[in-house]
Amino acid sequence: MTWSEMQPLLSQGTLDTLYMVLWSTLVTVAGGLPLGVLLVLTDKGGLLQNTPVNKVVGVIVNIGRSLPFIILLIALIPFTTLVVGTFIGPTAMIVPLAVGAIPFFARLVETAIREVDHGLVEAVQSMGGSIATIVRKVLLPQALPSLVSAVTTTVIVLVGYSAMAGAVGGEGLGSKAVTYGFQRFETQFMLITVVILVGMVTAVQLVGDGAVRLLARRGRTAS
């Protein structure tokens, strides 16, 4: 394969991967954040202590996390078809990617929010703050550096998942690597896709770490 043959395949694959990762990240954050908050609030001693809800959500999250992603991809085909109308292509892939990442992200959110000092919650309660106020003005802003870090980790997991999605009708770099690199023994092509994926992950990590540092600076060090 020559470079001019590889180039369009690679750029199309990269765009598809970015598209899938971006949208599935948005859906994951939108779904996982409330779920994580719910897990903390309904826990024993939480502001909305509710053991049945906590247990049920906990079990669902655990099932979601323990299923191998490749199984989930296949198992979700009917659901994906229902939502998107097809189970093939980058847009359809957003569904399994988000469903796979939401439980993972929810647990990270739960951990991040648990680390917020209970004294702050008490302080806002003493001011007459409602639970919604506590979540919006204390829990989320105080946990923000950890939450950003959780998003970074989740994006990286989604890059990996999206490559796997290539095996089951998805598009993107993973699918290209399987079709050209693996099935046609184009070692060079395979290597280039790996390099692009490594570059992508590194970039996400760097941006995420930078954002966390920026957020944490105001909270920690004296200038």
Partner: protein, 360 residues
Amino acid sequence: MITTTGLTKVYESRGRKVTALDGVDLHVREGEVFGVIGQSGAGKSSLIRCVNLLERPTSGTVTVAGQDLTALAGRGRRATKELREARSRVGMVFQHFNLLSSRTVEDNVELPLEILGISGAERSRKALELLDLVGLADKAKAYPAQLSGGQKQRVGIARALAGDPKVLLSDEATSALDPETTRSILQLLRDLNQQLGLTVLLITHEMDVVKTICDSAALMKKGKIIESGTVSGLLATPGSELARELFPVDGEASGPESTVIDVTFHGEAATQPVISQLSRTYNIDISILGAAMDTVAGKQIGRMRIELPGRYEDNVVPVGFLREQGLQIDIVDPDEAAAPAEPVALPAQGGAALLEEGAK
């Protein structure tokens, strides 16, 4: 201003019941600084949290500014709207300040105003005014991490005052601070109490705090209030444990042929040079074994332990002289402060308390 009746709090964990508050009746008058003192585990923390219902009492009632908060609380775990509104009128400061590290000093002070739904410009004006009041106007844009402990507590106090409360609850507000900073924070609380007519309920384990700013105090042990009253009233109560803790004096008699007495000064007598008068009038040598004097709420009060030569029988007249000066006299050694002296000298109730103390 704050009244609790029969306040009880029982914690239950893994089937075991722990009684943190055991029928606490507390009465804090409007405009006073009231200190609850006790060791850790005595239940002070539960008590102050029950006052604004951060902890739900197991039984009993809490009334703040004529409003029965326990009735507002409702049955559910979640705070009702009425309770939240009542809480916004009670300020609270914390041992570890509890400032949001993600917000600037000004934004921290604005938080309670945001909860009250006050508009942006008004919030900012009020926050700056409060920061000025606590002497931190120049730190408005700083983050809490850039402040010292004392400065953080000043922000905590400014924040607690944002809702124009009539009552301020202080949960060990100075316990994480060094002695000098503690003094300046206590001074600030005292100033606010006088300038704004703020009623302050504070809990502490430091006697110095009570001595420095409290008008009234209560001693708490094992979930119960053992003693309570105005500081000078407690001092005037013979055998008061709190008075003894506040003004500890000790020292042993040098021999059997001497009388050891504790002299308590409060009110007018404290300004008179009674000891030298005693010495001159009766021509006796007085040894001072120990003394603890202080200015409490602007008045000189304190206790002194002195030794007079001779047995108690020989000293009835000098002791009588001291009593005439309006001083309160406690005979230290119960063997020598024998029963015959008691009806002459002490009010009956006080004498009994003293003997009881001796018996322990």
